[in-house]
C-alpha cells in the first residue's frame, strides 16, 4: 500500500495547490469548490490507504521490488459464484427511475420491489449452515 497512499496523497497535494491558485486568480466559488472536493477525494483515499498500510502486518508483495506474482496467492475474500439478485435490483431501480417520468405510482411500487431484491441480495448467503 506504500505506493498507493503516496500516489493519492501526491494527487491530493497537487489538487490543493491548483485549488489555491484557481481560487486566488478567479475569485469564483463554484470551480474552487469543485476543485476543493477533488482534493478531498484524493486525500480521503490517500489517508485511508496510509491508515491500512500502518495497520497491516508486514508489507504487501506489490511493495517489494523483488516480489513475485505467486506471493499474492491466498484467500482474497468471498466472491459470489452465481446470483440473480443484482439483475432484479437493476430491474426495479430502472422501474423506479422510469416512474419519475411515467407517474409516481410506478416509483412507489418499484421501491417496494427494490427493497425486497436488496434484502434478497444481501441475505442470500446468510442462511445458517446447520439448518440444512
Amino acid at each position: 500500500m506504500k505506493f498507493s497512499w503516496r500516489l493519492f496523497l501526491g494527487i491530493g497535494f497537487f489538487y490543493a495547490l491548483i485549488t489555491a491558485v484557481y481560487a486566488k486568480l478567479s475569485s469564483e466559488i463554484i470551480g474552487s469548490l469543485a476543485l476543493l472536493l477533488s482534493t478531498l477525494l484524493a486525500i480521503l483515499l490517500g489517508f485511508y490507504f496510509w491508515f491500512i498500510d500502518r495497520r497491516i502486518v508486514g508489507y504487501l508483495p506489490e511493495d517489494n521490488l523483488e516480489g513475485e506474482i505467486a506471493d499474492r496467492a491466498g484467500e482474497l475474500g468471498f466472491f459470489s459464484p452465481h446470483s440473480w439478485w443484482p439483475l432484479l435490483v437493476g430491474f426495479f431501480m430502472t422501474l423506479a427511475g422510469l416512474g419519475v417520468l411515467l407517474g409516481w405510482w410506478l416509483t412507489i411500487m418499484a421501491v417496494a420491489g427494490l427493497l425486497i431484491s436488496i434484502f434478497g441480495f444481501v441475505m442470500q448467503y446468510q442462511k445458517d449452515k446447520s439448518s440444512y
Binding site: 500500500m1 466559488i29 463554484i30 469548490l33 469543485a34 472536493l37 477533488s38 478531498l40 477525494l41 484524493a42 480521503l44 483515499l45 485511508y48 491500512i52 495497520r55 497491516i56 502486518v57 508486514g58 508489507y59 504487501l60 508483495p61 517489494n64 523483488e66 506471493d71 491466498g74 482474497l76 475474500g77 468471498f78 427493497l115 436488496i118 434484502f119 444481501v122 441475505m123 446468510q126 442462511k127 445458517d128 446447520s130
Partner: protein, 210 residues
C-alpha cells in the same frame, strides 16, 4: 523479505480488506456526486442574487435544524461505539439494557438507527413547514436547490437506515458473530460517518452562510 508469509494467519491482518477498500473508493466517488450538488447550489445562488436568498433563508428554522444536526452528529458517535463492539466480536449486551458500558453492536446500532430516523422525521417536519410557507420544489429557484440538496442527503440517510436494518437482521441470522459480520458493521459505519460529514458541510452552506 519473508514477513508476509510468516505472519499469514487468520487473525493478523496481512492484506487490506477488499470490502472496506471498495467502500472507501465508492465513498470518494460519492463525494464528487455531492460536489455537483454544492456547485449547483452556489451557481443558482450567485445567479439569482442576494435578495432572493435573503427572503427565503429567513424562513428556515435554525434552532430546530440545529437540534436535528446535533442528533445526527451524535448518531455517528453511537455508531462508532457499535463498531468498537463489533471489533470485539460482541453482538449483544452482556448486562441489563441500562448498563450502557456492556452494550453490544446491536444495541448501539439500534440506537443509531433511532437517531437517524429522528433526523429523517425532523426533516419531513421541516419540509412540511417550509411548504406551508410557500417554499416548494417547483415554486422558486431557492426551493429547487434547497430540496434537491437536502433531499438527496435525506435519501442517503434513509439508505443508511436500511443498511443498519440489514446489519441487525444479518447478525441475528448468524449463529456465530464472524469476521464477515464485523466487516459489514465497519463498512456501514464508514458510510454513516461520510453522510454525517456531508450533512455538516450542507448545514453550514445552507443554514449558516446565508
Amino acid at each position: 523479505m519473508n514477513t508476509l508469509s510468516e505472519t499469514n494467519s487468520q487473525t493478523a491482518e496481512t492484506r487490506p480488506n477488499l470490502v472496506a477498500v471498495g467502500t472507501i473508493v465508492w465513498l470518494s466517488s460519492e463525494l464528487m456526486f455531492f460536489a455537483a450538488l454544492f456547485a449547483m447550489y452556489f451557481t443558482v445562488r450567485q445567479v439569482s442574487g442576494p435578495a432572493t436568498w435573503l427572503e427565503s433563508t429567513e424562513r428556515l428554522n435554525i434552532p430546530f435544524s440545529s437540534l436535528n444536526t446535533t442528533v445526527l452528529v451524535l448518531s455517528s458517535v453511537t455508531c462508532q461505539l457499535g463498531v468498537f463492539a463489533a471489533e470485539r466480536f460482541q453482538p449483544r449486551r452482556t448486562g441489563s439494557i441500562l448498563q450502557i458500558n456492556k452494550w453490544g453492536m446491536r444495541e448501539w446500532f439500534a440506537l443509531t438507527f433511532l437517531m437517524g430516523a429522528f433526523f429523517i422525521g425532523g426533516q419531513v417536519f421541516e419540509y412540511a413547514h417550509l411548504a406551508i410557507e410557500g417554499i416548494t420544489l417547483s415554486g422558486s429557484a431557492y426551493g429547487s436547490v434547497f430540496y434537491i440538496t437536502t433531499g438527496f442527503h435525506g435519501m442517503h440517510v434513509t439508505g443508511g437506515l436500511i443498511a443498519f436494518l440489514i446489519v441487525l437482521i444479518r447478525s441475528s441470522y448468524a449463529k456465530k458473530y464472524s469476521h464477515d459480520q464485523a466487516t459489514t458493521a465497519i463498512v456501514v459505519s464508514y458510510y454513516w460517518h461520510f453522510v454525517d460529514v456531508v450533512w455538516v458541510a450542507l448545514f453550514a452552506s445552507i443554514y449558516l452562510i446565508k
